[in-house]
Amino acid sequence: MKELNYLCKLKLIYKIMNKALQRLGEYVLLMKKCITLPDRWSMFFKQLVREIYKLGVDSLWIVIIISVFIGTVIAIQISLNIHSPLIPKFTIGYTTREIVLLEFSSSIMCLILAGKVGSNIASEIGTMRVTEQIDAMEIMGVNSANFLILPKMVGLMVFIPVLVIISMFTGILGGIAASHSSGTGMTPASFEYGLQYFFTEFYVWYSIIKSIIYAFIISSISAYFGYNVRGGALDVGKASTNAVVMSSIMILLADVIMTKIMLT
């Protein structure tokens, strides 16, 4: 009986591994089909501008709003939690800056964008698949993966670093705004001193590099789930959810790996 149970578990693990490897293989093949020179550069650039606007510029307001509020909340919470005469006041500004630069503006912002942009990419490509628009492209002799996915990937990899820089700026502005309010124990002067204290320029580059990797993860994984949809509207919805979940997991995994490589 015990042996049978052990065998069932082994079978289940084999099934899961098999499916995971199959998915990985499909993803690699899709990327191989996608990352090639475009058939027509003029069409590629036209699509690229469209994607930068749709995926990037349209996300500007959500990035600004979230960054300002989170920057404010980080500053307030730090000031409330280090209410000690032994810790200097400028630590609030210093810590807010480090959190915003190192983790919030790149990783957390990209997790939020994985929800917004990732679901958009997966549902758009998935709908094109189930309504035979992708088949129509293939019949014309167009490399559909290259035409549809590459501009999204390049567009996102170009514009997400811009969003990250804007997020850093507005996040810190939110912190400064908090320092001007009474009752938090901060002074604007000490906060600004903390912002400039022991500044490491590399942290900004570290965040930008991370965001480019995240942009690749979001666009390629979401495109993979959309491109391989089979069925109807319900399956497009499922693919969209799976795309967001898988992108988020991969972003967190990449965060750990890159932090280990770049900061230690």
Binding site: S42, M43, T131, Q133, D135, I139, G141
Partner: protein
């Protein structure tokens, strides 16, 4: 001309196409008919190269699609036009942009010439007024016409239509049939239409292939389809009351004429 020889296709051990042979001549509207699930769509997907047959040859004027590499297949596909069941117009583009798309991708003409050609194709399908509208803003019949305009933009030698009349009212369906038929004659194309619409069969069926459970049961034209003695074909065609009555009237007229 498209010729298919000994086509076999199966999915997970289930045989879907079993030794299909046929010749589809140019300048004619060739119809593939059969019940839902008979293998029509799989056959047309095999012919256009969206699926690979397990065995057999698909010859486009002597060029075998099954032995082509990716580049050769892409070059051949530029000679094909396809009208999908749901039209498959690109949602993010206007009707005019949809028709211009294949020209933008493959034509060496200037942008002015490409636009002129797209306008000509839209005029040909009587859709010149809808160029600036998006697919979501036009009717099903207009979508089919726009898809036909896109399919003929590159002057294809081969035109494929998958259920071109599905979801259309009988009058619009006849208009679409006539349009496909006229374009076939005009450009001397090899047109292959996948349908189970008997009105289409009687209207434009110059060469008809009937498929039942993956096997070619019968081949003939629209005049022969009514008088055929093939039991499976008769079961399919005369499932409709209308066609059964037409046959009865014809038989009565024939008996009356004899007496």
């Amino acid at each position: 001309m498209v010729e298919i020889k000994h086509i076999y296709k199966s999915f997970e051990g289930r045989i879907v196409l079993n030794d299909i042979n046929a010749i589809f001549e140019s300048g004619k509207t060739n119809l593939i008919i059969g019940r839902s699930g008979s293998g029509k769509t799989v056959l047309i997907k095999d012919i256009i190269g969206l699926l690979r047959p397990d065995k057999g040859e698909i010859l486009y004027d002597g060029r075998d699609l099954t032995s082509m590499d990716k580049h050769e297949l892409n070059m051949l596909r530029r000679e094909m036009g396809m009208l999908f069941q749901g039209s498959a117009l690109f949602d993010s583009m206007t009707v005019l942009e949809n028709v211009t798309f294949p020209l933008d991708m493959f034509s060496m003409q200037s942008s002015k010439e490409r636009l002129k050609r797209a306008q000509f194709c839209l005029d040909r399908v009587n859709l010149s007024e809808a160029g600036n509208l998006y697919p979501s803003e036009i009717s099903g019949g207009m979508m089919k016409r726009a898809a036909i305009a896109r399919a003929i933009a590159l002057n294809p030698k081969y035109l494929f239509c998958d259920e071109p009349n599905s979801g259309l009212d009988p009058k619009t369906a006849l208009l679409i049939d006539d349009l496909i038929h006229d374009i076939t004659k005009e450009y001397n194309m090899t047109t292959i239409i996948n349908t189970h619409d008997m009105n289409s069969v009687m209207n434009i069926g110059e060469n008809i292939i009937f498929i039942k459970e993956g096997v070619k049961e019968w081949q003939g034209n629209k005049d022969e389809v009514i008088t055929s003695n093939n039991q499976a074909l008769n079961d399919f065609i005369f499932a409709s009351d209308l066609f059964r009555k037409v046959k009865e009237v014809e038989e009565n007229e024939l008996l009356g004429g004899k007496s």
